[in-house]
Amino acid sequence: MSIWPEERVAAADSDLDTVDMTVNVGPQHPATHGVFRMVLTVDGELVVGCEPYIGYLHRGLEKLSENADYRQAMGWWDRTDYLAGMCCEGAYTMAVERLAGIEVPERADYIRVIMMELSRINSHFMFLGAFGADVGSFGTSFVYAWRERERIYDLFEEVAGDRMFPTYFRIGGVTMDLPDNFEPRCRWVLGSIKQGLEDMDGLLTGNEVFVERCRGLTPVTPEQAIAWGFTGPMLRATGVPWDIRKAEPYSVYPKIDFEIPVGVQGDVFDRFHVRLAECYQSVRIIEQCLEQMPEGRVLAPKLPKTLRINDGELYMPTEGTKGEYGVYLMAKGGTNPYRAKLRSPSFCNLSALQELVVGSYVADAIIILGSLDIVLGEVDK
């Protein structure tokens, strides 16, 4: 019995010609970070074709949201970018609030920003750890990342009662005020995060093997990045300082001083490095929030028992962890949105995979996929 029937037949026709081989990567593969599948056509070690398949995690988020009360839909939005649940529910609640014209108390806004930035650090740490593992570090980077992630999740648990999918935000504020000891606990976690970032920097950034693997791999020009619809760290790695938090500010970001790290040539190393640098900026944002946060209510008073929104539509772009996480809502009266749409950054970033991967080696294809930092919950919605 032949091992690969079709390829053997093809090879028998020509003398001494090599045959391209298809290698299936995923949906169960350690490098795909979820249920993503790509079929690589390889000529030896060289990738000559790549066909991505998505949809294994499709849960019909948009249709579910259209069939539920504005408040009931909250829980599903957490589960899109499941590494940064707070960012997703933040985007959704802000979209509904803008559409309904609900004012949020200032304290609630600050709490939201703290939670969203902690989520961002959490998600970026997941990237740093998993990317190190992709490049071949034997789990050490993964465990370094996990230490800080556990501490952030512990903080979430203390604040919201849940770790990954807290559903802590409410339309009009947040569920409950922060616990009494939050500020010292949070500052301790921030210190730990800084230590973790330095560890990660020392383990990976300064490592000759790591730099050799990542430097100059698939550089992307700003024009290409914009044409492909890159947003977030993927776009900033090419040198374009585009960050929704600065460009179209929402919440309390205008009051906060922070910088946008940008890369130089948009290669894999820059994508890694921009995310590492962003974590430092997130720490800065949280520290300022802790100082500026006023006392007061955390949930707007006199909220309607059932939220009904008359005609209107709105697109709310936010800076998610992977890029522009935009929520489009269209209301035509009643308690449900008429149309809900998610512009998921992972999906747009992933669309360039084929162009980036073809022509590289198999080993590089894996780390290029890793450098896109996709979350399949968000790609498949």
């Binding site: 071949g136 050799e212 894996i366």
Partner: protein, 379 residues
């Protein structure tokens, strides 16, 4: 015959003696492999702020046996696509050569299965056979990951065999013999690493590659080809690959420590008896193993072409230059301290070159936080 035990044949019968020695070595080897897997898990766990196995037995000491029993009673699956005989015999062909290496290794003075006059040559010859099993596993599994892994392994092991052998030949030239026991015996006052540091650097690098250890674990890359050539194996056959991997780790460590670190001879020589010699061999091989674990826990993986170009463009040239320099010194009978000095200069230049290559990169250490302040376009 010497005064040490085990130098004479057991019961005066050479064939019975050989069997007894082989059985002892295989038993010791299996025990060592069980504890090396445990040791690696513990050591790497400590590098990663974890505890490692703690539950099975006191501080997890029985974990290796638990794993072994689990593997023995697991189902031995053979994929339908697999080439039956090639698939089933590959594990044996991987681990038999490694056990054959043990025949020549000197554990203490005249302790070993056999004292071969061409011991070093025997080790090279037998270790080269390892590739056959790996390639058979890659080709016979009927799996494309396994095929990629097998071909990668073959290319890598054949390439790195050259600098490995040439570097060791340079040492053998200085020693003037290929008899491992004699080489170790010469080092009672100074180990050869002091005279041939460059050869040690080359040997250690090539050894990592031969063992498929990080940063050269390309044939078994877990995040790319999910284990490589043994991806389709399960149960007892998989554990044979594992046995071969750790057994060769230990065999290489003893081999390397015998040639470079002075094996049983340095620093006490024959004066302190065979007990101390065994302890010395053990300590020195554990130092080598510890180094390998350390590298594994720290370094990411190289790419195939980078690996090959490092071998063909750097290691092979340096090792042949070393051979040439050693030959020159030995031919004209120049004194040993000058030979050692030249070798040290060579080793420092080689490592310095690698360091400078890393340093000529744009400085990455201070880049975080020092990115230029971005100009934000007005919305």
């Amino acid at each position: 015959m010497s005064e040490f035990p085990f130098a004479d044949p057991f019961f005066g019968l050479s064939w019975l003696d050989a069997i007894i020695r082989i059985v002892i070595v295989v038993l010791v080897m299996t025990l060592v492999v069980v504890y090396l897997t445990y040791g690696e898990r513990k050591v790497v766990a400590r590098f990663q702020m974890r505890l490692g196995p703690t539950r099975t037995g006191p501080i997890g000491l029985l974990q290796g046996f638990a794993d072994a029993i689990k593997l023995l009673i697991k189902e031995d699956v053979r994929p339908r696509n697999a080439d039956r005989w090639v698939f089933e015999f590959a594990p044996y062909l991987t681990f038999i050569p490694v056990f054959l290496v043990l025949v020549a290794l000197p554990f203490a003075q005249d302790w070993g299965v056999r004292n071969l006059a061409l011991g070093m040559f025997f080790v090279f010859a037998v270790l080269g056979l390892n590739i056959v099993g790996v390639l058979m596993a890659g080709l016979g599994s009927g799996n494309k990951y396994a095929l990629l892994g097998g071909v990668r392994a073959a290319a890598q092991m054949i390439s790195y065999e050259i600098p490995l052998v040439v570097a060791l030949l340079a040492v053998a030239m200085v020693a003037g013999t290929l008899d491992l026991n004699a080489i170790v015996g010469m080092q009672d006052s100074r180990p050869f690493i002091l005279i041939q540091p460059l050869a040690f650097v080359i040997f250690f690098t090539a050894m990592l590659s031969e063992l498929h250890r990080a940063p050269f674990d390309i044939p078994v890359a877990e995040s790319e080809i999910v284990g490589g050539y043994f991806v389709e194996y399960s149960g007892i056959r998989w554990s044979m690959f594992q046995l071969a991997e750790y057994a060769s780790l230990w065999a290489f460590s003893i081999f390397g420590s015998a040639i470079f670190l002075g094996g049983w001879a340095f620093p006490f020589g024959e004066d302190w008896g065979w007990g101390w010699q065994l302890v010395l061999t053990l300590i020195k091989s554990l130092i080598m193993i510890m180094l390998i674990f350390w590298v594994r826990a720290t370094l990411p993986r190289l790419r195939m072409d980078q690996l090959m170009s490092f071998c063909w463009k750097a290691l092979i040239e340096v090792s042949f230059a070393l051979l040439l320099v050693n030959g020159l010194f030995l031919y004209y009978d120049w004194p040993e301290p000058i030979l050692a000095a030249v070798n040290w200069v060579g080793a420092i230049l080689f490592l310095g070159g690698i360091y400078l290559r890393a340093a000529r990169k744009p400085s990455t250490k201070n880049l975080v936080g020092s990115y230029k302040h971005a100009e934000v376009p007005n919305p």
